[in-house]
């Protein structure tokens, strides 16, 4: 070989770079994040498909939490609107507004029964006897068919009614049979629109009544009936001026609303009520009760419990889908580590510490899960509103649930990404560089 030799003092054609001053050391978080984004971006479709598992899980969480919370809130509102700590007493076998009693039927419940209850049972706060009848209400040229409730002033207390306008009627007005009424919000609107009905006159049949108040709005009851489509007047007014009275049942009521003091045992009060009615109605020991008693809050609470059960079921579905999504993340991260073994070897060779590699892959997994989680929140949101709109359910989006969903997906990524990331960090650089 006849090669020319390097001159001893050849001027350098290229100079090497000056030593780089020691940095703050280590891979910074933003750089690791950027690198993770770049890695995900290089495999968009795969990242998207992997995130899909988390996406579905989180979307399911969002829908169930939103709809579940909405349903729960509805149930609680219903309990509230029905009146808390309330027992309802029906007369046995007697039809509402009943004037016709068949032969052999037992005695009805009466106004006097209602009056006796708070006297006889210490735990009872108030008891109000009530009769109801469908009537046409006329105001000027407007008219409206609704249910007229005739009752005791305590009925407002028993059912937790509030006032939007005016006042309730008094015991004296009841006793005197004064022709005063309160309108439910729906009736007030139908007859008077935006105007304040207090002080105005309505007619029921031929009888004029003064409107003394408008009830606060309650909305639908659990059966879907509008509780605000109501007119309320004193019991004795109705007896004398509206509903008439057969002599036999001049003091009859169709239901008695019994409000129990806060903190008292409802079941115990129910027993006491049964005993009281057996005594008052002189029921023989071998005969059945003359009355039916129902605990409305209990019915609503049962619905609440079933709503909770449903939520729990949906939550476990969500947990399973998150688990599956997490395993998907772990799987794809393991694939990614295997695919990028050479890259990891190279990074280790140029000065990456195992902790840096761990950080990079862990961030990638968390990011993947978070992207799925964030998209799941958005989709769950939209779906919840769509479903709610279609089915007429209330939808309640709770922001802490959103935060929880995002946090859970991030933690899923962290948990399921840790093992693959650790594998990456513990790779032997020489073996990694030689990998195919």
């Amino acid at each position: 070989m006849n090669a020319p030799h390097l001159a001893p003092v050849a001027p350098p054609a290229v100079s090497a770079l000056s030593p780089l001053p020691r940095g703050r050391g280590g891979l910074s978080f933003p750089e690791a994040l950027w690198a993770a984004l770049g890695a995900l971006n290089a495999n968009k479709l795969r990242a998207a498909l992997t995130a899909l598992g988390i996406f579905i899980g989180v979307a399911a969480v969002m829908v169930t939490v939103a709809v579940g919370a909405g349903a729960r809130q509805q149930v609680l509102a219903q309990i509230q609107s029905l009146g808390a700590n309330l027992l309802l007493v029906w007369g046995g076998n007697v039809r509402m507004g009943g004037v016709s009693l068949g032969a052999g039927q037992r005695a009805n419940i009466s106004w006097d029964d209602a009056q006796a209850i708070p006297r006889e049972i210490y735990a009872v706060q108030v008891a109000a006897g009530t009769i109801r009848q469908q009537q046409q209400i006329v105001a000027g040229n407007q008219n409206w068919a609704t249910t007229v409730t005739a009752t005791d002033p305590d009925w407002f207390v028993a059912h937790d009614w509030t006032l939007a306008e005016g006042r309730f009627f008094t015991v004296e007005e009841n006793m005197a049979g004064r022709k005063v009424v309160l309108l439910g919000a729906t009736v007030a609107e139908a007859l008077f629109g935006e105007e304040n009905p207090v002080g105005r006159e309505v007619r029921i049949g031929a009888t004029p009544f003064e409107v003394i108040g408008v009830l606060g709005r309650k909305g639908q009851n659990p059966q879907g009936q509008d509780q605000d489509d109501a007119v309320v007047m004193p019991y004795w007014t109705a007896r004398r001026s509206v509903m008439g009275s057969s002599r036999a049942f001049a003091r009859a009521v169709s239901t008695i609303s019994v409000k129990v003091h806060e903190g008292e045992d409802m079941a115990l009060v129910e027993e006491e009520l049964r005993a009281l009615f057996r005594q008052r109605h002189r029921v023989a020991a071998n005969e059945p009760d003359t009355v039916q008693i129902r605990n409305l809050s209990e019915i609503a609470a049962t619905r609440d419990a079933s709503a909770r059960t449903l939520s729990l079921l949906l939550a476990s579905v969500a947990a399973v889908s998150l688990l599956v999504g997490g395993i998907g993340v772990m799987n794809i991260m393991l694939v990614s580590v295997t695919e990028r073994t050479k890259e990891i070897g190279l990074r280790l060779a140029v000065g990456a510490r195992p902790a840096d590699i761990l950080k990079q892959f862990l961030l990638e997994a968390v990011l993947l899960a978070l992207i799925g989680g964030a998209a799941g929140v958005a989709a769950g949101f939209a779906l919840a509103h769509l479903l709610g709109g279609l089915a007429g359910w209330p939808v309640l989006v709770q922001w802490d649930a959103v935060a929880l969903a995002v946090a859970v997906s991030g933690l899923t990524g962290l948990f399921f990404g840790y093992w693959p990331a650790r594998r990456a960090a513990q790779l032997d650089p020489i073996a990694a560089l030689r990998a195919e």
């Binding site: 390097l6 990456a352 195992p354």
Partner: protein, 241 residues
């Protein structure tokens, strides 16, 4: 006086193999001063790469000691070894090992990520390094848009970017045609002339000829340590042109 850059005593690396062990490297004593250009030569399987990996702190010896710039690396933690690789050593591989989804500039800047160098400094230095290997006009090209020789230049720029004292190259011309190989060796000679020590592994005597010293390996042992006048790769290229 300054410590030698590399000093090994009875350096050995054994691998378990079946019943017994393979002595990939078996008791190597060598001292290399800063700024030397050394070739490690020998047939395939003679232990050259094993030696290079030990020198590059990618591997730990089964026996013996290795001092890098006077410091016994056996006492260093994983983190300290990583830092050492980042700061003092640059690696060049036969198959380049560029990251395909990054352009030349980002590939070159990558090692600085692990030293916490701010982005602006990284880009400036990476551009400088690319300019010094003659690729100022190819910064935004991805590896698959570059020829083999250009890819190896990018890899050399990456090895240079942290300003190391030592370049370790394992068969750097192995994947290149002979003329491109000479260009790469000319680049190493120029970098060496600027003060960087080079340890180049090759099985090819004509490649080893560009070094000023050749260590010959056989069956894991160093069987020859010879100083010689290097062939001037740049001049060779001028003559051929």
């Amino acid at each position: 006086m300054n410590a030698p850059l590399i000093e090994t005593r009875d350096l050995a690396r054994h691998y378990p193999s079946g019943e017994g062990v393979v002595a990939a490297l078996d008791g190597v004593n060598v001292t290399i001063q800063p700024g030397e250009f050394v070739a490690a030569m020998g047939p395939s399987g003679s232990g050259k790469s094993t030696f290079l990996n030990l020198i590059g702190c990618l591997d730990t010896p089964t026996r013996g000691t290795y001092r890098l710039a006077g410091e016994d690396v056996a006492h260093l933690s994983t983190e300290a070894l990583a830092a050492l690789r980042g700061e003092r050593i640059g690696f060049v591989f036969q198959s380049f090992h560029l990251l395909p989804r990054l352009d030349a500039l980002s590939n070159v800047a990558m090692p600085m990520l692990y030293r916490g160098v701010p982005r602006a400094v990284r880009e400036k230095r990476a551009a400088e390094a690319l300019a010094r290997v003659g690729l100022a006009g190819r910064m935004r090209h991805r590896p698959n848009q570059l020829s083999g020789g250009q890819q190896q230049r990018v890899a050399i720029a990456r090895a240079l970017v942290n300003g190391p004292e030592l370049l370790l190259a394992d068969e750097p011309t192995g994947a290149l045609d002979s003329r491109t190989g000479i260009e790469i060796m000319a680049l190493f000679q120029a970098l060496n002339a600027a003060g960087v020590a080079v340890l180049c592994v090759t099985h090819d005597a004509s490649v080893a000829a560009y070094a000023a010293r050749t260590l010959r390996f056989k069956d894991g042992k160093m069987v020859e340590d010879r100083r010689h006048t290097p062939v001037d790769a740049a001049a060779l290229l001028r003559d051929v042109a």
